[in-house]
Symmetry: C2
Subunit: 412 residues, 2 copies
């Protein structure tokens, strides 16, 4: 009894027609011989409406009540999807998180899935049920209260079910038909990837290619769940979309798999920081407490006991970062001459597991940017990624130049 | 620790402002020293929207999925109400039906409450919680699935909680300020009753004065729960509204408490039915199976082995009734000359527990109608009610005449 997990996001179940369209895709897999676990999001817009009500009611809300309210959208879709399948003569029933149960931590509004016992669903599969429709994004805390997994949590629900039920694959249906070498709105040469490694997908997800939630990719990587991203609105074959998988499954690949970008980056520099052991902690501790998501960090070599420290963060967190840094200075925790914020930058990155075994990727990247006279302001690298901050107006140009330079238009 | 149950219907929680208004009423009772169990309906319109989606998806829906979908509206309101109370510094939390749990039968979409264990709520009250906000209308089946109690079920939820927690009172907040001697839209002389007996309320509820759901009144009568109907949109004192209570609590009362009416009645007569033992069962069995709600039944004396049989039912069930009767005739189960449907009638009733000990109520009623030249077509009586069918155009006139005749404008 091979099991398949299929996840439909909010735009894929936005109204009764779309739910019917999704149900037809489920039926096709049942006809192919699968038992299917369907994970559904709320109809698009519903969760935002509920969140809005909670925010208006109580700015500093009790997260347990927030969860009780915002989880209701998925319950509606799950029931409607089960009914639609039944109308197509597919034996199906809906499950809310607490009924499975999807056991989570007690961290309301950002809970982590801890266990999904198989007994209840397996018993129904044995009785002849072909499809279990599960409300995504929600679970049950140790105290018996409803939890949610944070926005986009339905992807994580889907991967967790695929892991718990050792599903053959976890298909994530969305409004794009796969993962691309870069954003097709920036260059028409962008090419859909047939396969991408978990590690690459993780870098692309966190770099703002918002096809999959980062946590779901991490989970898939840990449990080796084969993830497929494909379109709800096209006819699909078993080879459609993009497979996110272990790198061993990818025989040939380009050195670089994709070019990612992020428009909303700001670069902040503390000039002439008194350098001493623990200075980094003294700076980034307060930033973390203030809820600033620091991305890149660059420290230049020290001269005369003073150094420059540069970091990047989302543009809309600049004010918060400035306040945190200034307070740390007032409390005597750090000492610097000046704090300079540059909100006119963008981040461009090349990502690829092939970098591990190929030298010269950085050189080729810098050369391509120089050929377009694009000045690089900050550089950071990881094992499979090189990121640069550049002036924002060059962002599209840089993406196109790098896409060309690494030959991404054609497959390896 | 006196407990109060307060129930707010859909119009009383229709938006965030109304929820706040309701929460203020709850806070006032907490300040008076009560522990409060608040039962909430869905925001008005929400349940209809959900029911519409289910109907469109699956005309012959699986009632278990129907329940999973339509119960979600109450969960939203319960969470928002708890958050609103917390904002007012009232310790509160929300409970969904399965969390309490409200144990019901497995009759989905029309489940009956079987048990409400007190442990979970009591434990929280002991810990300092002042208000438990419970989603109305829903429960948990023996199989662990969500059930609903049928439309208007939140009244029943409220009374069941009041019984289980031996509450001092069950306050039903609605958009009217109490129970009237008759519909104030028909006569400005209509007077709000301070108290009304359960039995009278039952007759008025089933006669179409839709202030309370019939089942909730039955339940209140069985468990002697003091019910109070009052307005969400007025300042209330402990004596506001109408108290529905045991007749022993009502010291003095008019012989007749109220005049009820129902516009949507139809009178159907089977002319010259072959009279034999079992003929009533042969007629009303098929009607019941066809889902026709038969109200009044009148059989005249038999002559030459044939009789006329008259019954009333809602106007919109006439076609269904005709089909059922005709099929029964074709199958040879009954034999009659003609079936005459009169859809131009209305029902007017006088109700009062005082009738039991006062003779002459019927005579006074018939006299009042004769004085207005209103012809009576059918009469039925119960211990505390006399109902007549009359031509529809006289309905308002009859109500006014009876209200005057029994002196309802002034209290006893």
């Amino acid at each position: 009894m091979p099991i398949l997990v299929m996840k439909f996001g909010g735009t894929s179940v936005a109204d009764l027609d779309k739910i019917r369209n999704a149900a037809e895709k489920v039926k096709r897999e049942v006809d192919r011989g699968y038992k299917v676990i369907v994970i559904v999001s709320a109809m698009s817009g519903k969760t935002n409406e509920l969140v809005g009500w909670v925010d208006q009611t109580s700015p500093l809300y009790d997260a347990r009540e927030y969860d009780a309210v915002v989880s209701s959208g998925e319950n509606v879709t799950a029931g409607l999807m089960a009914l639609t399948l039944q109308e197509m003569d597919v034996p199906a029933r809906s499950w809310q998180g607490w009924q499975v149960p999807v056991k989570t931590s007690a961290a309301h509004a950002a809970a982590r899935i801890e266990e999904i016992p198989r007994d209840n669903l397996d018993a129904k599969f044995d009785e002849g049920m072909d499809v279990a429709v599960v409300a995504g994004f929600q679970g049950l805390s140790p105290e018996g209260r409803i939890t949610t997994l944070g926005r986009g949590g339905s992807d994580t629900t889907a991967v967790a079910f695929a892991a718990a039920f050792t599903a053959e694959r976890c298909d994530i249906y969305t409004d794009v038909d796969g993962v691309y070498t870069t954003d097709p709105r920036i260059t028409s040469k962008a090419r859909k990837l047939d396969k991408i490694a978990f590690e690459e997908m993780l870098e692309l997800a966190s770099l703002g290619a918002k096809v999959l939630q980062t946590r779901s990719v991490e989970l898939a990587m840990r449990y080796k769940v084969r993830l497929r991203v494909l379109s709800s609105f096209e006819e699909n074959t078993p080879d459609s979309g993009t497979l996110v998988c272990d790198e061993e499954e990818i025989m040939e690949s380009n050195v670089v798999s994709g070019v990612a970008y992020s428009r909303d980056e700001a670069k902040m520099t503390l000039i002439s920081v008194a350098d001493r052991p623990g200075i980094a902690a003294a700076i980034f501790g307060p930033l973390s407490e203030a809820g600033v998501n620091v991305d890149m960090i660059v420290q230049n070599i020290s001269e005369d006991g003073r150094t420059d420290m540069t970091f990047s963060c989302p543009t809309d967190q600049v004010k918060r970062a400035e306040r945190a840094i200034k307070e740390a200075k007032e409390h005597g925790e750090i000492n610097f001459q000046e704090l300079v914020a540059d909100t006119d930058v963008a981040k461009v990155s090349v990502v690829g597991i092939g970098m591990r075994s190929h030298a010269g990727v950085a050189a080729r990247m810098f050369q391509a940017l120089r050929d377009e006279n694009i000045n690089i302001r900050v550089i950071t690298t990881s094992e499979i990624k090189i990121s640069v901050l550049i002036e924002r107006k060059y962002m599209e140009l840089a993406v196109q130049a790098l896409h060309d330079a690494f030959g991404l238009e054609t497959a390896a």
